[in-house]
Symmetry: C2
Subunit: 413 residues, 2 copies
């Protein structure tokens, strides 16, 4: 992509609204813009990061045997009355009456809708197990939106649902998802904790939370600095608590929740009547699990853990581009010609590249390249005019190597 | 994908709600399900078709120099008051007040939001032209939803917006988009008409509509049966009208609108104050165009034009899978072994394949394969047990060839 053909409005200073490091960098690097408090536009770079995160999730969900579908945002309130969760969610759930008088809500989650769907089509144990998931936009009337996409009114989630004949099947699917989540967050370069947690409003018993330690995190957990074990924070015991695995003193740690998985049991299938005939011909409620990931807030979580004073440092699989090509004087024909040739060869080799073809000063381009945080920067400047050599800068290591065009391209490929 | 691992609830009879051929086939082939009138779930097969359509659009938009972003569904009503379009859209636009008292609407389109975004970041002629697009979910309080995704309350659109210095730039971008639209709909295997139309509520002057002739279409146009020229239908002149290009008598034709492009001019930039400094330092409103495609209703349009009595017949680029493998008796070890081997080899060759691994009667499997409409069916049955040969059926041509496994796989690759 050419910088001048896309839309990357970088900023020297973060707008006043920014209230965390990731929020500031999201805005400064031109990834997102606020439309109103809690509601954000994904600019082209931000959308590329979102898509990369979604694709990692999709790959790991698909290879775990889950099938993707897409449920609507508009939901009949009627379904929520049946499970009683309209009260649990209260004013957080956006509701309205349409002009035909239908009571509708904007889905903050989809247990009701998917249980109702499966109810209509699964009637025998032979059709189970079944694991379905979606990556979809959710809505919440958030009273105090904060930290950009971390606590927002409109956000993207991955929600998966498992349907089983019995507890044994549920536990099997639960383990598969737990393993998939570890792979997903690992591929995103995240340092995360897995906390055995309360199931709360979701119903059910067993549940695990995936938490990313960050300064601005609003969820407090007790983390073991030695073995990465973590427990829910409970004020009365926090001071004396030792790690149940290695006996090290636990540390009170601020975190952001990025995923949460639940063994639901029959809470939804019972109240919505999603039953199946078991092998002996007996009618049973389907045993369910649900598995959520906060997709859009992962952008923030990754930035919180991957940045320095100059800007973002994207992990490879999440980065909007793999390489940024930075010609320092685009009006110089030799430099511009080399930059376009390098860019073309990267495209031909299937390497996602961004060419900063703006007519801007070297200082602006250097600063913007570091701010954007693309792992590899190819710099074509004075050195090139003198010796024909380019520079390849590794953003994370802040190291440079020098070589001619072929050397540098070979290194990248 | 294995049939038993995904969710394809085919139906022998269409539910009562189905009111057009495509709507019936969408439901019968297990592509979509109604949650409530005008609101649909995309089941796994339907989502694959939707993704294919989106990817065709994405490829052609990207190669036309447009940059993708993602705007929010939640919009401040305030922006609509500035352009006066809150009145134009009236009750069609879903509105609510959140608990902080903000007046919010669910975006039925995004001219206001994108103009406001660009206004904040474009100030000089040097930053123009710019073409931005998104593929996003829109909402309408539709009084009489019909034909499944054709007239729905929640639907997917591609909306693009061009920003230019002058009318000449707008006309250039408009031509590029017109050409891209022709490529997009051509790749989807559609027979479509291009109608020069009124701009109506969108403002501006020049506009073109892309229409697909179908029996159930609610938009009437005058089409030339000879040269594919088309005009908007006007009752008073319809009887006598001749084609302006070839003088043939025009025919009153029912169609569905799948795309609409507009030269907006300065309607939105003027009312929202999106100005730029031109080369002479004078402040000017940005000249805009907008370019819409009804993404989800394209699924219906394609089916309307591509089906027979047995079911859907997908064009190659839109089909949820390229091949369906149909072992006629999955309990037979030889047949099952061969089916899985064929399926594996297709996967290895990068051919998207569905394996019908259900324990169902041959009749059910034949009927479902034809109903699903995947272009190639590999049938492994009695013939295979006798001679070792498989059958390859071409769904559209309704022709079969016979050969051993290697012959058939070679043919597909």
């Amino acid at each position: 992509m050419l910088w001048t053909k896309t839309f990357i409005p970088t900023l020297k200073e973060a707008p006043q609204e920014a209230d965390s490091i990731s929020h500031k960098l999201l805005l400064r690097a031109g990834l997102m813009r606020m439309l109103m408090s809690g509601v954000y536009t994904y600019l082209p770079l931000g959308l590329r990061v979102l898509n990369n995160i979604e694709n990692i999730i999709r790959q790991e969900m698909d290879s775990s045997g889950a099938a993707e579908l897409l449920l609507p945002a508009l939901q009949p309130l009627e379904l929520w009355l049946k499970t009683g969760r309209d009260k649990d969610l209260g004013e957080t759930m956006i509701r309205f009456t349409d002009r035909r008088g239908r009571k509708i809500c904007l889905g903050p989650t989809h247990e009701e809708v998917i249980t109702d769907l499966v109810k209509g089509h699964v009637s025998s144990y032979k059709q189970l197990p079944l694991v379905l998931y979606q990556i979809q936009t959710k809505f919440r009337d958030e009273l105090r939106p904060r930290f950009g996409p971390v606590r927002a009114c409109e956000f993207v989630m991955k929600d998966a649902y498992s349907f089983d004949r019995d507890q044994e099947g549920l536990e099997k699917n639960y383990k598969i998802m737990l393993a998939a989540y570890n792979r997903i967050f690992g591929r995103m370069g995240l340092d995360f904790l897995v906390v055995e947690a309360d199931a709360g409003v979701m119903g059910g018993s067993v549940s695990h939370e995936f938490m990313v330690p960050t300064e601005s995190g609003e969820d407090v957990v007790l983390a073991c600095p030695k073995c990465h074990c973590a427990l829910p924070y409970k004020e009365e015991v926090a001071d004396k608590k030792l790690c149940p695995k290695c006996n090290e003193a636990l540390v009170v740690t601020n975190t952001v929740e990025i995923g949460h998985i639940f063994q639901l049991g029959t809470k939804y299938s019972s109240s919505l009547g999603a039953n199946f005939l078991d092998a002996s011909g007996k009618l049973q409620p389907i045993i369910m699990g649900c598995y959520g990931i906060g997709v859009s807030r992962l952008i923030s979580a990754v930035i919180e853990q991957n940045h320095d004073d100059a800007g973002i440092i994207w992990p490879d699989e999440v980065s909007p581009y793999r390489v940024i090509v930075v010609p320092l004087d685009i009006t110089d024909e030799k430099i511009s010609g080399c930059a376009h040739a390098v860019y073309q060869e990267l495209n031909n080799a299937g390497v996602q590249a961004l060419l900063d073809d703006r007519d801007e000063r070297a200082g602006v381009k250097f600063k913007d390249a570091d701010l954007l945080g693309i792992p590899l920067e190819i710099i074509i400047g004075k050195e090139f005019l003198k010796t024909g050599n380019l520079e390849l800068k590794f953003r994370r290591e802040n190291k440079k190597i020098t070589g001619d065009k072929e050397d540098i391209l070979k290194h990248i490929r």
